[in-house]
Every structure is written in structure tokens, then in C-alpha cells.
């Protein structure tokens, strides 16, 4: 996969079938983790705590009320971001060769958030808790995935910046 390019048709990138399969698998796992996150026993999962942190640190009642009012909607939106990612890579995952994917700006916004959520989950699974943590190497592939997703996130931010900046330059 090379970086996204902003074109008149939308944001385009070329993905290899293998890359699309990885993104598809990860985004489906994320959707299922999020769906389970509404169950009471999911609160002990460190990844769920990162995806859906408490809004109040020292006020249990306020934290509980906020959870009750906002969690379901937040989970639904996060699931929908991950679903946008799944949809975009579903066909490329079963293609014979590299496929050009085209994203509308709203899709790209879903992508950057879904990719960020995937990194939060993987960080928990490989034990990245503080700045400078390298993560355990129990599953070396996960660290590579984590870095690859960072590259995708950074690339999407780069395109957002290059397109969003247009309106304000030269004024």
C-alpha cells in the first residue's frame, strides 16, 4: 500500500489483497469487540477501557451517569467507523491483484478513527502503557501491525492537512 492521494474522485490508494485481508479481519474484530463492550463484564478488558474511557476520574456517580447516557451512541458510531473500513476493503481482499480504493472525505474520517481505535486495542494487547514502551514481543506480528497502522493514520492526517489547508492559505 502506498499513501493516499487526493483526487477529484476522492482519496485514492492502491491496496494489495493481503493488506486488505488484514484490515478486513482487524476491523471485523474491532466491531465485535465494540458490540461486546456493552456487556457488564467487558469493563475489565483493558482494550475496552482505552476505547471507551470514563469521562470522570474521581466521581463514580457522574462517570456512571455519563456512561449510561452516552456509551451506546458512542459504541454505535465507533462500530460504524470500523464498518466503513470493512466495506472499503471487502472487495480488494478477494481480488487477484492490487485494487485502487476510493474514499469520500467522510469515509476517510471514519478510517482515521477506526485505525486509531485498532491501535488502541493492539497497544493494550502488546502492553504499551507509557511513552517509550516498546511492547512485548510475545506476538511479534502485532508490533508490526501496530506500526503499519500508525503509518496509515499518519498518511491520512497528511492528506487531511493538505486538503484542509487550501481554504486558509493566501488569505
Amino acid at each position: 500500500m502506498r499513501g493516499f492521494q487526493a483526487t477529484e474522485q476522492g482519496w485514492q490508494a492502491i491496496v494489495e489483497p493481503e493488506e486488505a485481508r488484514i484490515l478486513l479481519s482487524l476491523s471485523r474484530q474491532l466491531q465485535s469487540l465494540l458490540a461486546d463492550s456493552l456487556e457488564p463484564d467487558a469493563r475489565d478488558d483493558g482494550a475496552v477501557q482505552r476505547l471507551l474511557p470514563d469521562a470522570y476520574r474521581h466521581d463514580d456517580d457522574a462517570a456512571e451517569e455519563w456512561r449510561r447516557l452516552s456509551r451506546r451512541g458512542l459504541v454505535e458510531r465507533k462500530v460504524s467507523h470500523a464498518a466503513t473500513l470493512s466495506r472499503a476493503v471487502a472487495a480488494p481482499a478477494v481480488a487477484d491483484g492490487p485494487t485502487t480504493i476510493t474514499l469520500a472525505v467522510d469515509d476517510a474520517l471514519d478510517w482515521v478513527r477506526a485505525v486509531g481505535d485498532l491501535r488502541l486495542v493492539i497497544a493494550d494487547r502488546i502492553g504499551i502503557v507509557r511513552d517509550g514502551d516498546e511492547g512485548t514481543t510475545v506476538e511479534p506480528g502485532l508490533r508490526d501491525l501496530y506500526d503499519w497502522l500508525a503509518w496509515i493514520q499518519d498518511d491520512l492526517v497528511r492528506v487531511f492537512e493538505s486538503t484542509e489547508g487550501e481554504g486558509s492559505h493566501g488569505e
Binding site: 474511557p53 469521562a55 476520574r57 455519563w66 458510531r77 482515521v112 491501535r119 511513552d131 514502551d133 492526517v157
Partner: protein
């Protein structure tokens, strides 16, 4: 906003610009304050407004909380 070791500095800074409408220098400054001090206040106002910010920031995968301050 709380520092986390996962989100890229470029991403955090971009979210601040996009969500709060911060200027580039302002967003960089806020991002670096979070990064170096472990936390920084990025918005002040009534409870409902701050809860909406927190929800939006959680949607971006950032770690934000609401805290009551005396006035």
C-alpha cells in the same frame, strides 16, 4: 486531555484543529503540553458542553475527562 503513548502527535494536533478549530500553533502548543505534562486543559465551560467535547474526543480515540473546577 491526558497523554497516551498510542496516538501520534500529528494526529492529536490535527484533532485539536479539527474539533476545537484551533490554529496550527495553538494546537501544537496544546498537544505538546499534554505530551510533556501528562495532561492539559483544552476547554473550559459548563458541564454539558464539556461532556460533549469529551464524547467527541473519545470518538477520535483520545483520552479526555471532565473535571469540576471552583469558580
Amino acid at each position: 486531555m491526558w497523554n497516551d503513548p498510542v496516538n501520534l502527535m500529528t494526529y492529536v494536533s490535527w484533532v485539536f484543529r479539527r474539533h476545537f478549530g484551533m490554529r496550527r500553533e495553538q494546537a501544537e502548543h496544546a498537544m505538546l503540553a499534554v505530551h510533556h505534562d501528562g495532561r492539559a486543559t483544552v476547554a473550559e465551560g459548563n458541564r454539558e458542553a464539556m461532556e460533549r467535547h469529551v464524547e467527541a474526543l473519545h470518538e477520535y480515540g483520545l483520552w479526555a475527562t471532565v473535571e469540576k473546577v471552583p469558580r
